[in-house]
Symmetry: C2
Subunit: 375 residues, 2 copies
């Protein structure tokens, strides 16, 4: 393998695929990046077993000749060392791999020799049926992820809850995340040639958001029994799926509510942030939410040792029972409100023991549930 490549062009690609490489693994192959030279392109791949990122570099980039391939081939090198050196090289980079997998990297008067890793066991990228795919903009996908991923469980005892459940139906994609104390649901209207339900690990979705946050693109989404792929023109993101059956959440969503309030979303978020001052002393970040009269609520937290805080906010509308005091997890409430971009939010209560339903006003694609704290 032998080629010459523009240093910035190569650096961006190495930096993209490095995101998939685990820095903590003890398996040397999973700490490597695979570089493949073909006559018409260079491809780089990073993988940690859970996710993989593949970046294809055509010979021409941004209208300029970026690559000259003298001889095709492939090699796996340490992601850490190749990333560290490539980003510091000031000129075009010349790379040659010798028969013993020693990789020579030259740029101007700088010469690096990196010992290659035997790549024969480097993870193969999953295969997909390319006839069924969905198209979505990276911005929409990242929006859906932001609206749900925070509600996944951090606890591995129920693996399915550590992922976001994507359900594709004819006209709609529904994404749900829950840790069994809170739930976030987001609908996205689309014509979908794909059907079925897939649980994508939250860690994969977070990496996916970072990757495509820097590359706005139209994505094609492909699925197989065990994997999912998000593909733009020259960049593909692969993730394993979580095996198992996702709980049916439809039954959790209350149909009746005894009290409905509407409030200013940002003001409520700021108020809960302030009122949480003493909440962190409690296991569940307890704050107390109370309706004080026809037009006001009181949000408070207290610590017997340090002090107490309370604030009064005016509600925009109120309907139903006006006698309510409920303990909530302040952090869950803040996460929920941060995911709402609409100006007004509706809080639907059903007594002090039942979950509260949180809905943006004027937007029926988003729904959240938070269970009260038993205090």
């Amino acid at each position: 393998m032998e080629f010459k490549i523009n240093n910035d062009y190569f650096n961006k690609a190495i930096s993209d695929v490095s995101k998939a490489v685990s820095t903590k693994t003890t398996v040397p192959l999973l700490s490597g990046i695979k570089i493949i030279a073909q006559p018409d392109r260079i491809t780089v791949v990073g993988s940690n077993g859970d996710i993989a990122i593949e970046r294809t570099l055509p010979l021409i980039g941004e209208g300029n000749k970026m690559i000259e391939v003298y001889s095709p081939g492939r090699v796996v090198v340490s992601a850490k060392y190749i990333s560290d050196i490539i980003k510091k090289l000031p000129y075009d980079i010349y790379i040659k791999v010798s028969d013993n997998q020693s990789v020579t990297i030259k740029s101007g008067d700088i010469t690096t020799k990196l010992n290659g890793i035997d790549g024969s066991d480097f993870p193969e990228l999953p295969k997909f049926d390319v006839h069924h795919s969905i198209t979505m903009s990276s911005e929409d996908l990242i929006g859906i992820i932001k609206d749900t991923v925070f509600a996944t469980s951090k606890n591995e005892t129920r693996p399915v809850l550590t992922g976001v459940n994507f359900t594709f139906e004819e006209d709609v994609l529904t994404c749900v995340a829950t840790n069994s104390h809170r739930l976030a649901l987001r609908k996205y209207r689309m014509k979908s040639p794909l059907r079925g339900s897939f649980i994508v690990p939250s860690s994969s979705l977070i990496e996916l958001s970072k990757l495509f946050g820097g590359h706005k693109a139209n994505l094609e989404i492909y699925t197989s029994e065990n994997n999912i792929m998000f593909k733009s023109n020259n960049l593909s993101f692969y993730s394993r799926l979580i095996d198992g059956t996702y709980p049916n959440v439809a039954g959790l969503i209350p149909e009746d509510t005894s009290t409905i309030l509407t409030l200013d979303t940002r003001e409520l978020l700021k108020g809960i942030d302030r009122a949480s001052l003493f909440a962190s002393e409690w296991k569940n970040n307890n704050i107390v939410f109370q309706i004080t009269d026809e037009s006001k609520i009181r949000i408070s937290s207290n610590s017997s040792e340090m002090g107490q805080i309370e604030e009064i906010q005016h509600v925009k509308t109120i309907s139903g029972a006006k006698d309510l005091t409920i303990s909530l997890d302040g952090n869950f409430m803040m996460d929920a409100l941060k995911a709402i971009r609409d100006e007004e939010v509706k809080l639907c209560f059903n007594g002090t023991m039942r979950p509260i339903l949180i809905l943006p006003v004027g937007n029926d694609t988003q729904l959240q549930l938070i269970s009260p704290v038993r205090s």
Copy 2:
């Protein structure tokens, strides 16, 4: 104690003095901020026993009436809680302390009660002889700190080496830091009414740089037997001094050198950064520095397992012996070069076993020494 104050004005002051409050201390008093209300000003003080920061707030700030003092007094409150809440309050803040040291903080419809801490043992600020002081701009002082503090020792076995030694003579201030493997010396020409030698802890100097980095000012410097104070108009920074005798470093600075090179400072820094790729595998971040011919040097590092790197740089001038191969700590070299703002740097060698002397070209106020690594 009872007063009203503009929220932003108060928040900046609390944020400044919080820098002196230890978050790790188990002594409640050292986790507190003292607030003093007097008819003509509010004063806030944070202290962790090693450093203290005092901020005075006049009633008028930026041309506006910022404070109304209804009744003078003093209180100590938790730095963590007061900082957290003050920065989130949207309107003017009203503060009242009751007889039982309960502090009520109101802003609009937000009411906080913080339990005060008994302040009778809050550390007293040190006293100074106000007749002898030095004046220096905060930018110059921060420059001197940046040029030296990195070279202090991180190891507490010789406490004096964990500080920077400030020596005031009639016409010059000399600052020295060394960890016994490297040394940084900086001279600053000034008329000094103060005489003597003081060792200031590196941790204090780093906090001082952060504090005055955000407040450009003319500083007055006062010293006493055990303390030093840096004072601007409304902001004072106090630090304890390190007790002990600083080593006489004059004898360490070589008078003869066998080889002198001049190089481009930034290029050399970048080259050493790259050439350090495999240095971190070694205890002393070993890089090898070699003169290869009349006009070139070679910088390299290697790891038997991972690979090797080398780069050739052209020197600007060379004089003396041209046969030299020396092992150096790459991190020490980078720290040294980062502290040099001049375009060219002179490296003076005296064989492979003696420290190298690093001097900016055209600037005789700065000098650094680095001992070679015995490889």
